[in-house]
Amino acid sequence: MTLFLIRRLQQSIVVLLVMSFVVFAGVFAIGNPIDSLISPEATEQEREKAISQLGLDQPLYAQYFVFLKNVSRGELGTSFVHNRPAIKLILERLPATLELTVAALVFAIIVGIPLGLLAGLNTESLIGRGILSSSILFFSLPTFWVGLMMILLFSINLGWLPTTGRGETVEIWGIHASFLTLDGLRHLAMPAVNLGLYPLALIIRLTASGTQETIPLEYMKLAKAKGLRRRRIIFIHLLKNIMIPIVTVIGLQFSVILAFAVVTESIFAWPGMGRLIIDSINLLDRPVIVAYLLVTVVVFLIVNILVDILYSILDPRVRLGGM
């Protein structure tokens, strides 16, 4: 286990370094943030002053070197647009996105696994087919369209839920959370469902196909022959064995949604990290873009390690040291 963690840590650092360079070079190639930010009234001299003040007149390698030096001191740069440390901006928005992501995944899991089981156990029935074919819809309908339709239906036509935004928050351990207030939950419902549709479809299909594959296996027959109750067979013998791919997908989806919930966050005006990255790209706020993508990589790395550890718990045959 320790060896596994050390090895993973080493790999992670290499990945981070490579990633930082790729992002840095990419952002450098797009252009100069001053050009789009500066007012048209500014003279050439003012423009040059701003550029040199921000160190943007240096060649790529010099800027990258300065960046690395700052990173080693724990600084990921200061946002051009907000004039505050980029990492602080990101962490400030993290709770909102985390809340949305967890809500979306909880929705996907709570709804997805029972539906998947139902579909997998009754493949020939109308219910099973109905569930599987509607899961295709969740895959293929574009998030922004579904989001807008939901707003149209539930907010504008029916008037049940607020259209957009994050509701009232309460502070727990210094973090603002909205899922503890009624207003917050009302605001959270639509974006969470909207964001959860894709993982929901994935989980339904994985659970259903896993169920189908596992049912004919010998140990399932044995369990049945032993006279175990159906509930025990399904929830212990079956579910535990089909969980590995599902956990993988949930883990991957968690990082993907956390990092790139851009569309849902924009449509529902949710003040999360996804919005931050898209705004920063639009304004070429380089330090935020670089810091954001590095944070994303870190999130992916951590989630992957956690998923690997979860494997070994779910399936004793998996040995961490060998991975």
């Binding site: 797009i30 252009g31 100069n32 943030p33 001053i34 050009d35 789009s36 930010l37 500066i38 007012s39 048209p40 009234e41 500014a42 003279t43 050439e44 001299q45 003012e46 423009r47 002053k49 701003a50 003040q53 921000l54 200061t78 051009f80 647009v81 907000h82 004039n83 505050r84 901006l89 400030e92 928005r93 909102a96 922004f144 807008l148 707003i151 149209l152 907010s155 504008i156 029916l158 008037g159 049940w160 607020p162 259209t163 957009t164 935004g165 994050r166 924009s266 449509i267 529902f268 005006a269 003040p271 999360g272 919005r275 931050l276 898209i278 705004d279 790209i281 639009n282 304004l283 070429l284």
Partner: protein
Amino acid sequence: MIKKILTRALPVCMVLMGAGAAAADELTVATPNDPSIDPHYLYVSTNAAYGRHVFGKLLDRDGDARVKADLAVSWKNIDEFTWEFNLREGVTFHDGSTFDAEDVIFSFNRVPNVPNNPASYESNTNMIETITATGPYTLVIKTKNPYPLLLRRISGVSIVSAEAVEGGTTADFTSGQIAVGTGPYKFSAFVPGDRYELVRNEDYWGEQPAYDKVIFRIMPDPASRMAALLGGDVDIVEGFSPSSVETLEAREGFYVAQRASARTLWLYVDIQNDQSPFVTDLDGNPMDNSPLKDARVREAMSIAIDRDAIVTHVMGGLAESANQLVPAGWFSHNPDIDSISVDVKRAKSLLAEAGYADGFGLTVHAPNDRYVNDEKIAQAVAQMLARIGIITQVETMPKSVYFGRLNRQEFSLSMIGWDNSLTGSSLMSLSAAFHTREKDRGYGGWNAGGYSNADFDAAVEAAEKEFDTVKQEKYLNEAMRILIQQDRGAIPLHSQFTILGVRDGVRYEPRVDEHFSAMLAQPSE
């Protein structure tokens, strides 16, 4: 059963929701833009608009872009270089401290010295040689050169409290700690990316705004801003998409507030380069002698563009066609410049006269996220040019990429929209976008077409120094005539409208400079 519940519960829900939005003491605004709370950080028009709520200036510009007294009550020229201002007495900042000349001097000194500022406000202060207090409520400003524009320029300098801000950073403003001004609203809360809340300053020296509380909801997506308006969550939508105008007007309970703005769109033509980067012959090979250098070709291009069609079909009527760089009715709009009427036949014969009867190839460049319908306008222009044989491609890009390339003169034909409200005249666009590039003297910083004409330059410089407005307008009109009528140095397109979506029950009058101002909103009952 369910139906019964629904029919009973629905009206109750509607009433509850409606009641929230209809409260007359609160105004909720959906806006695409995050604010910078520090009024001296990041000089973009949306920040200037936010700043006006919380901070005062010596002089401001009103909704019609006229100079208006704010913290200065009177002013006069002592000589060409020296201005004397009398300040308003008895004004307090939001934290209770008293406003005096020291605060003004502190603010003017802070503007060029905010660290890491990619877009400084210093173009509003750098003509100033010294600024000194001659008493607690009198100030003398000396400029480096005769500078009649000073009265307009200083509207770009927000006055902050010297005691509160001394040693403070932009981050301290963002947290609200030192965000104290003298404006009609006070900072209440700011959640980045989510909301910015203001409450009325009951001690404001001037006319009290109508709403006790203003909430800006930051919503970058135009469709969700529209949805929030229809759903009753917000009262006003800023940055309203023209394509939604018809939908909104058709709905009961909402209206579109519109006004011709000070922003005029035009096309730069590359006049300087013999080999213009995006000019080709009909086979796609670069041309050694750019046809764009010929004024007849530029005139042909201009009269090939059907501006009225663009206004009607692309802009949905929410624009006004232009024959020069400032909108009609403005100071320095030259009435002697002919209106441009479409004439495809004459355009073709002009091209033939210049030796390009068969036409040539060209690319028009435009941003796709900056002006109202910018990309569609470029496409319409390309098709209209194709009618006279100039086979035109369209290339659009995000503003973050576009403006850098524009400034490096990388395009042959390119779009820009200039907001004329700062000077209230053509002066800024003429001197920044068409005066010969002279870095040391601060001219031609945006001269993306490489236009250069000594007579034009002389007229612009004379206008800049002229204190007599009648004479100044004469110089500006002359410069505009040379540029547009004589040299065809730019192709004017149209002036766009400011459009906002508003709920009935709120009355809003847009400003000419497209800035949103909660002070201009009132309950309409």
